[in-house]
């Protein structure tokens, strides 16, 4: 019975050890002889285990989608549209505006005639999405009409904007060809943060710029006398507003935008760009959502390093654009990128589905811009909250230091255990080494990432593994001192110490679970390593160590134990 029990245990341990060893240093391809040399095993281990960015090198970016900006724009657009709708329906307004502060977003219309409130409201609701009661709640006070965005809608819309931004960033990263990126929501739902990890990317400047590119493209009608007179531009913003003859304010169907005149590259870069202002019509003829494709091409007849962007429109956009350009021959239109007019040109003939953005781009900047245009406009600007880069050499230094320290620590433990517990110390050392191997195997099986805090978890596990052995051995010694036979001292020692070991392990596992649930990246890495290590320790320090004792005691009648 005993013998059979021992055999079963030995077989289980052998199988687990072999599987563990294979997982850690076994190649994932057809094995060659060189896979079993020291350097070969090291290489296999490195490729099997998934290293965190802090060890492997790479970039870690946390960005926030400025959803409040998205909601503000949405509210402002609606305010403009509501005013236009009311005016189109023949009602007179004293004023209208969007109010956005402290996560309150509302559209306000001031009526000239308060008795017409219901009619104005109906006229607005017919044309503008303010009628959507799941988003906007309507209220009236005197001659003022209010549409307030409901808190639920604020949450949902902000969340959607973040998801959309995530998708766009994803397509931009794919277009850039970054290997094995990790892209995910970060932190609380309401924080609208996105985490991007790029292994191996040391200098994320270009990626950051590309991801940040809002790429809001609009094609607009420029208010100007038609060709052949030149496009109307104004030297200052005030002059442009004055040309509207509307008493110093910009009416809802107009916008005043800066127009950066093209400058020669040789010009002194310290000189401010000569800026001009133009007046454009709102809303835009079409926007970037109608874009089908965009590509960078060298400017025809320009200098060799001058690039421009060719774009083409989707069917729906092309129809709209074609109809508009057909009826506005000789008038001026402008290409607006991120709220800045890039170029102004008059319409020679009807244009359907393609156009250019010229602006004296370099090859790189034109290609980057085309890439972001293809991926679509970000719903809202993003800002970077956190940026960490680790060069591969720094990561390797950390690994080397961590491994060296762990080995020195392990060596001291081994020497002490062998010295202090003699023969039984071998048990502890076998258990400890098995624990290390199985722990690496566990990390590989669960696809966990080994990070610097993860190494800390390994060190705590070594500590607790040693502790389990010390607890058991001290207990056996105590039982021996009180005059028990070797057999019963070993049995009692294991049984009694087991209660303590379970308690210490479960407490630590419970607190690790809390860390895993509430913690972020590095802290999670710590928790995962620790939990895996502790579960394995229950096997290696208790089951395996006890089996070795059983085997020793079964061979002969033991009078004394080397402990």
């Amino acid at each position: 019975m005993k013998k059979k029990n021992l055999l079963t245990r030995a077989i289980i341990i052998a199988v687990v050890t072999i599987v563990g060893l294979y997982l850690v240093i076994g190649p994932r391809h057809r094995p060659h002889l060189k896979d079993f040399t020291w350097s070969g095993m090291k290489q296999t281990l490195a490729s099997n285990i998934h290293l965190g960015l802090d060890l492997q090198g790479g970039s870690h970016l946390v960005m926030r989608v400025k959803t409040e900006e998205f909601l503000r724009r949405l509210t402002e657009e609606n305010a403009v549209a509501a005013q236009n709708a009311a005016k189109d329906a023949g009602f007179e307004l004293k004023g209208g505006r969007a109010e956005t502060n402290n996560s309150n977003y509302r559209v306000i219309l001031e009526l000239a005639d308060a008795s017409k409130a219901t009619e104005v409201k109906d006229a607005v609701h017919k044309k503008v999405e303010l009628g959507d009661t799941s988003v906007w709640s309507f209220s009236q006070s005197g001659d003022q009409l209010f549409w307030t965005m409901t808190p639920a809608a604020v949450r949902t819309l902000a969340d959607n904007a973040t998801t959309q931004a995530l998708n766009i960033i994803d397509s931009r990263i794919n277009a850039l060809g970054i290997a094995e990126p990790t892209l995910q929501r970060h932190g609380a739902e309401t924080s609208h943060q996105i985490l991007l990890q790029m292994p191996g990317v040391q200098d994320p400047e270009r990626v950051k710029d590309i991801l940040k590119g809002e790429s809001r493209l609009e094609l607009v009608h420029v208010i100007s006398p038609p060709n052949p007179s030149p496009a109307a531009t104004y030297p200052t913003e005030a002059d442009a507003i004055a040309s509207l003859n509307s008493g110093g304010t910009v009416p809802p169907n107009r916008r005043v935008l800066p127009y950066a005149e093209r400058i020669e590259k040789s010009a002194d870069p310290n000189q401010p760009k000569p800026k001009q202002w133009v007046v454009v019509e709102m809303p835009a003829i079409i926007d970037g959502s109608e874009l089908r494709n965009a590509s960078a091409i060298p400017t025809q007849g320009g200098r060799s390093d001058d690039y421009e962007i060719n774009f083409s429109l989707k069917k729906s956009g092309a129809d709209k654009f074609g109809a508009w350009t057909g009826s506005h021959i000789s008038e001026y239109m402008g290409v607006v990128l991120n709220g800045e007019v890039k170029s102004v040109a008059f319409i020679k003939s009807q244009i359907f589905d393609s156009g250019q953005i010229s602006g004296r781009f370099t090859k790189q900047s034109a290609e980057d811009l085309a890439l972001t245009l293809r991926s679509g406009a970000l719903p809202a600007p993003i800002e970077y909250l956190e940026e960490r880069t680790v060069g591969p050499s720094l990561g390797q230094d950390s690994i080397r230091a961590g491994v060296r320290a762990s080995l020195v620590g392990l060596a001291m433990v081994v020497v002490f255990m062998l010295f202090y517990y003699r023969g039984s110390g071998i048990n502890a050392v076998v258990a400890l080494i098995l624990n290390m191997i199985l722990m690496l195997a566990g990390l590989i099986v669960f696809g966990a990432t080994l990070t610097l805090p993860g190494i800390a978890g390994i060190i705590l596990t070594i500590g607790m593994a040693v502790d389990s052995n010390v607890l058991i051995f001290e207990r056996i010694r105590e039982e021996l001192r009180s005059g028990k036979t070797v057999q019963s001292a070993v049995d009692l020692g294991f049984d009694r110490a087991f209660v303590t070991i379970i308690d210490t392990h479960v407490t630590t596992i419970v607190s690790s679970l809390f860390l895993f649930v509430f913690g972020t990246g590095p802290i999670r890495g710590f928790a995962v390593t620790l939990v895996i290590g502790l579960l394995i320790n229950l096997f290696s320090a208790v089951y395996v160590s006890r089996t070795i004792f059983m085997w020793e005691l079964s061979r002969k009648r033991v009078e004394s134990l080397s402990i």
Binding site: D203, S398, F416, Y420, T504, L530
Partner: protein, 342 residues
């Protein structure tokens, strides 16, 4: 067999006033240092960029200019409050710490501009060794904005507290809630004392230090549970002994294990301090201090608090029993605290 300690009979609880006094003094010293630093215009803790926001750029030079030259180059480009910190075990490497300055500032780009005073940077994807024309290479950056800093700070505190709650619940279930509370108070003490050391010696508190504090929480509770476990076992075996005596005995019986385990872990962590490199230094220092106090607190803090609390409850129960059973003749309660020195 070779033994460090056995058959001890030390009255640990008798010295509880000393133990708790020392701990209170240490915590007060830490608190004093924190208040003093805050009051004299500094910060209570030397928070790293993780929590404060800012940029740290790690630069390797082929021929490292002296720190003043680097500082001058930075000032020249308008970076005034930068700290240039040499790396102890890497003479060719420096850390340049730039404080947070409003939104949209790119510390890395600005530092790179300033460093161009000394030559060009190694091309992307190339190490300093393989690019002979380069004078330096930025091998790592950490840039944290104000929002992320505050967020990481709050999260770190929340996570530590959550872990403590988890421990409290588990120990309350397995033992008594007084045991759980005593263990958590002891762990809390360890964290405070360790943080106090960080304030006194002005060591930087980074995200890795938080990981160390969490490790320390695990270790300290582990240590406390070993003692409590023995108390629970001895309570069953020696029902006539007072809790006071049982606790003292249990501490004595587990003392050799406590010393061996803590000693070994201490040595491992010492190896980490000595050989673990710059990145892990804050982490390993926190752990080293923590292990000493984590071990100390299971004996000196957790046990006395638990005994004191249990005795209070026991006394309260007895009074309640007496007042409820007034008409009956009360049998003299067997001296539950025989041998007690309280």
């Amino acid at each position: 067999m070779f033994q460090i300690l056995h058959d001890l009979d030390i009255d640990w609880l008798g010295n509880r006033v000393w133990f708790i006094g020392i701990s209170v003094l240490l915590m007060l010293a830490g608190l004093g240092a924190a208040i003093f630093r805050q009051a004299t215009g500094g910060q209570a803790f030397n928070l790293g960029v993780d929590f404060k926001g800012g940029t740290v750029v790690t630069v390797r030079f082929r021929q490292k200019p002296n720190d003043d030259a680097i500082r001058a180059a930075l000032v020249n480009k308008g970076i005034h409050d930068a700290v240039v910190q040499p790396v102890t075990d890497k003479p060719d490497t420096v850390l340049i710490k730039v404080p947070l300055e409003g939104e949209g500032q790119d510390g890395r780009t600005r530092v790179r501009e300033a460093l161009s005073t000394f030559g060009t940077e190694a091309a992307p994807g190339k190490e300093l060794e393989s690019d002979s024309s380069a004078a330096y290479k930025i091998i790592g950056t950490d840039a944290v904005g104000a929002i992320a800093g505050a967020q990481l700070r709050n999260k770190a505190i929340a996570v530590t507290l959550a872990a403590l709650v988890g421990i409290l619940i588990y120990i309350a279930v397995r033992f008594e809630w007084t045991y759980g509370a005593a263990a958590v108070i002891a762990v809390f003490h360890d964290v405070l004392v360790t943080l106090g050391f960080f304030s006194i010696f002005n060591i930087e508190v980074s995200l890795n230090v938080i990981a160390a504090l969490l490790t320390l929480v695990g270790f300290s509770v582990n240590d406390t549970i070993v003692v409590f476990d023995r108390i629970r076992e001895n309570r069953k075996l020696h029902r006539r002994d007072s809790l006071y005596k049982v606790t003292n005995d249990s501490i004595n019986q587990t003392l050799s294990r406590t010393i061996i385990t803590s000693g070994l872990v201490f040595l491992s962590v010492l190896a980490l301090v000595l050989f673990g490199g710059e990145v892990l230094r804050g982490f390993s220092l926190a752990l080293l201090i923590g292990i000493v106090f984590g071990t100390y607190s299971s004996v000196a803090i957790a046990s006395p608090i638990m005994v004191w609390w249990e005795q209070r409850l026991e006394a309260a129960n007895r009074e309640a029993a007496l007042s409820f059973n007034q008409p009956r003749v009360v049998k003299p309660v067997r001296a539950q605290r025989a041998g007690s020195k309280v």
